[in-house]
């Protein structure tokens, strides 16, 4: 049997990349390479249609306000239906920061209303108060992975409010999270994940890169372990920076 290929689609890689988001893609790519798995990266920009059957994992990072507004409208106009179809057939969607906000229903910035794709049951509102900035650590409990820590950095002006049935990605141990008050961080619904944690996310939490890869490829067995001494040290460094 030929080795599987992880087919990743980066949404708006030229616009939604503000917090070194390519680090997330690099983690996925290198860890596939070291395991002898194939890796295929496609970028989908403004106006590009996406084929829901052609990708196992969709990634969307954060962007500047102006770029995020451009992408929000385009996402709804040209990609929303295909994303829902892809999720229905099991694709993973990961949104970080601005990308996370657009996975919900809407983002209100004063007079401006950005539409979301509605893959997560949440709304985001720009807050007049200070941006929520700093090192952050949360505890997550993902299927098959048990209780683990995700650590990184957050920097967001929006406050994200989850609907009553919407599960957070994790519980804030250190830092602000979705609103700075709720104790919730991020959101998860099946294979759709959103979080404010960058740093970037996956280099500081290599175990999560593997979890996403297993899920995206629909593997029954866990991936073969790698020598993760340096990855574990980076994870510990990010946790320590957050005060854990």
């Amino acid at each position: 049997m030929p080795s599987p290929v992880l087919r990743v689609c980066a949404l708006y890689p030229d616009l939604m990349n503000i917090y070194a988001d390519r680090g997330n893609l690099l983690l996925l790519q290198q860890r596939c390479a070291w395991r002898g798995l194939g890796f295929q990266l496609t970028g989908a920009g403004l106006g590009d249609a996406i084929d829901p059957a052609a990708h196992d994992l969709f990634y969307m990072g954060g962007g500047q306000d102006r770029d995020q507004a451009l992408c929000a409208q385009d996402l709804v106009d040209t990609k929303r239906d295909a994303l829902h179809t892809a999720v229905d057939r099991g694709a993973v969607v990961l949104g970080v920061c601005g990308g996370y906000q657009l996975l919900g229903h809407s983002y209100e910035l004063g007079d401006e209303h950005l539409p979301g794709v509605g893959l997560l049951d949440l709304r985001t509102v720009r807050h007049d108060g200070p941006r929520l900035i700093g090192n952050v650590a949360i505890e997550v409990d993902l299927p098959g992975a048990g209780r683990r820590i995700v650590a990184g950095f957050e920097n967001h002006g929006g406050r994200t409010h989850l609907a009553s049935g919407q599960a957070p990605l994790g519980r804030v141990l250190k830092g602000h999270g979705n609103t700075g008050e709720s104790g919730a961080e991020g959101a998860i619904c099946g294979s759709v994940l959103g979080t404010y944690i960058h740093g970037p996310l996956l280099p500081k939490n290599a175990w999560l890169a593997d979890w996403l890869t297993e899920r995206a490829l629909g593997l029954d067995e866990p991936l073969a372990p790698l020598d993760d001494g340096m990855e574990d040290a980076a994870h510990a460094s990010a946790k320590a920076a957050a005060g854990l």
Binding site: L15, L26, L70, N135, P200, P203, M230, A233, A234
Partner: protein, 464 residues
């Protein structure tokens, strides 16, 4: 310095007190003075016949050092915040203590509006805007908006010196057109009171935009710029096919550019006063840009071309900006890295050097570095990876620096992560190998490195 009266005396006293207490004190008197007299920068600088301000994400300190060297050849007596204290307090302190006829100030990009309003410089250099410390400065667009407001309200006597190759900066020239001159506003070319500089050597173009590139979309209409050449980050030759915005034709240019590794660069400088070959003792295309900026700025201030060329020949590196010292039997070249665009230029310059390199990468996450160390994943360490023999990583976030290099393609067995402090890291880096060692520290790591080298009795052109 005249004009500050009793408030100046109180502020100077505060500076002495803070130095005696061992708390640095570079900007303390200025901070005290600004509390007592919020207009102190205006009052103190009014006595200086010539005034210039420099702002940019990258290259402020080096560009100011170059302008200093040029103006000093013409006999100028400079009041210059050369120690890099570039917020309002540091500038007020420099004015309080300085005596001279020419004010030369590098200004933090976020403090520029208040300082310019008071300083009313004859020349204001806006050199570049790059993604930098998002946790501290916020988004690039918001700084560009603040700068546009500065340009709109600047004194008509202020000549703007702009980087033609940075679309975010060059576009600010448009703000100089009077309301009603709508047709002319379509191009920054020839805007009144604007001098632009740029690189005209297409052989330097890279294969494409770097990952961390910003402002690749037209500031006027939002369409993506079309680049005919990319030189550095998002700097290059560009135009907007949607609205017709173009790169202004620069008044001050570099042609026939040769980059000589970490040793220096050569190019032909052309200003409105003529052309001359320049041999720059600082490396990399980023320093060619700094030299063009300094040449254009000092041209506005009346420096003749001979002084500009001689000043650029004579400039010594500021600390940590490609300075080389001798330590533990090895040469140590120190290259500050603080954001992706600056780091990329350093990495590109190192990759020009022959052979395999030993690297000492020191990543700190103190406030002055930016608490968020994400940026290392935007910097193209991939360019350097094939040239590394050994990489020693230290600093408050050493493990993450090590991991970045691993994913850039450096074999894990060539990476050493040292957790117990900069001194131990330096020892380890010096032990492993011979020949030149390249140190890449972040800002506070650079300050610690200077302290450590001084402690070991090492001296350099900028310290000791």
């Amino acid at each position: 310095m005249r004009g500050a009266g009793w408030r100046g005396a109180v502020a100077r006293g505060a500076g002495r007190a803070s130095r005696l207490s061992g708390r640095g004190g570079t900007s303390i008197p200025g901070k005290v003075l600004l509390r007592l007299d919020p207009d102190a920068i205006a009052t103190l600088s009014a006595g200086l016949p010539r005034r210039a301000a420099i702002s940019a994400t990258n290259g402020k300190t080096t560009t100011a050092a170059m302008a200093h060297a040029i103006l000093a050849r013409g006999g100028a007596r400079l009041v210059h915040n050369s120690a890099g204290a570039n917020m309002a307090g540091g500038i007020a302190s420099t004015l309080l203590h300085g005596k001279g006829d020419t004010g030369l100030f590098e200004v933090d990009e976020f403090w520029l509006d208040g300082v310019v309003a008071q300083l009313r410089p004859q020349a204001l250099l806006l050199a570049n805007l790059f993604r930098d410390q998002l946790d501290r400065y916020g988004e690039l667009e918001s700084i560009a908006d603040r700068w546009a407001q500065i340009v709109r309200t600047a004194d008509p006597g202020t000549t703007l010196v702009l980087n033609a190759d940075d679309p975010l900066v060059a576009d600010l020239g448009r703000e100089r057109w009077p309301a009603g001159a709508q047709a002319a506003k379509d191009s920054a070319q020839g805007a009144p009171g604007v001098l632009t500089f740029g690189v005209e050597d297409l052989s330097l173009a890279t294969s494409g935009l770097q990952h961390a590139s910003d402002s690749t979309h037209c500031r006027r209409c939002g369409a993506p710029y079309r680049y005919d050449a990319v030189f550095l980050g998002h700097q290059g030759h560009y135009h907007c096919e949607a609205c017709g915005a173009t790169r202004p034709h620069p008044d001050v240019t570099a042609t026939d550019v040769h980059l000589d590794g970490v040793r220096g660069a050569r190019f032909v400088l052309t200003t409105p006063a003529g052309s001359a070959p320049v041999s720059l003792p600082l490396p990399g295309l980023y320093n060619v840009y700094n030299a063009l900026a300094a040449a254009a700025l000092t041209h506005v201030l009346g420096a003749p071309l001979e002084d500009i060329v001689a000043g650029l020949h004579a400039v010594a590196p500021a600390f940590g900006r490609a300075e080389t010292v001798s330590v533990g039997g090895r040469e140590l070249s120190i290259l500050l890295v603080k954001n992706p665009a600056g780091a990329n230029e350093v990495l590109r310059t190192l990759a020009l050097e022959e052979g395999e390199h030993d690297l000492f990468a020191v990543l700190n996450d103190n406030v002055a570095d930016g608490r968020d160390v994400s940026w290392i994943w935007d910097a193209d360490f991939e360019h350097l990876a094939p040239h590394l023999r050994r990489a020693t990583c230290a600093g408050t976030r050493a493990p993450e620096m090590g991991l970045r290099l691993k994913y850039a393609g450096v074999p894990a067995e060539r990476i050493v992560v040292v957790d117990d402090g900069l001194a131990a890291g330096l020892d380890r880096a010096l032990q492993d190998g011979s020949g030149r060692l390249f140190a890449l520290p972040t800002y506070t790591a650079m300050l610690s490195l200077r302290e450590e080298l001084t402690r070991r009795g090492v001296t350099g052109s900028s310290f000791g």
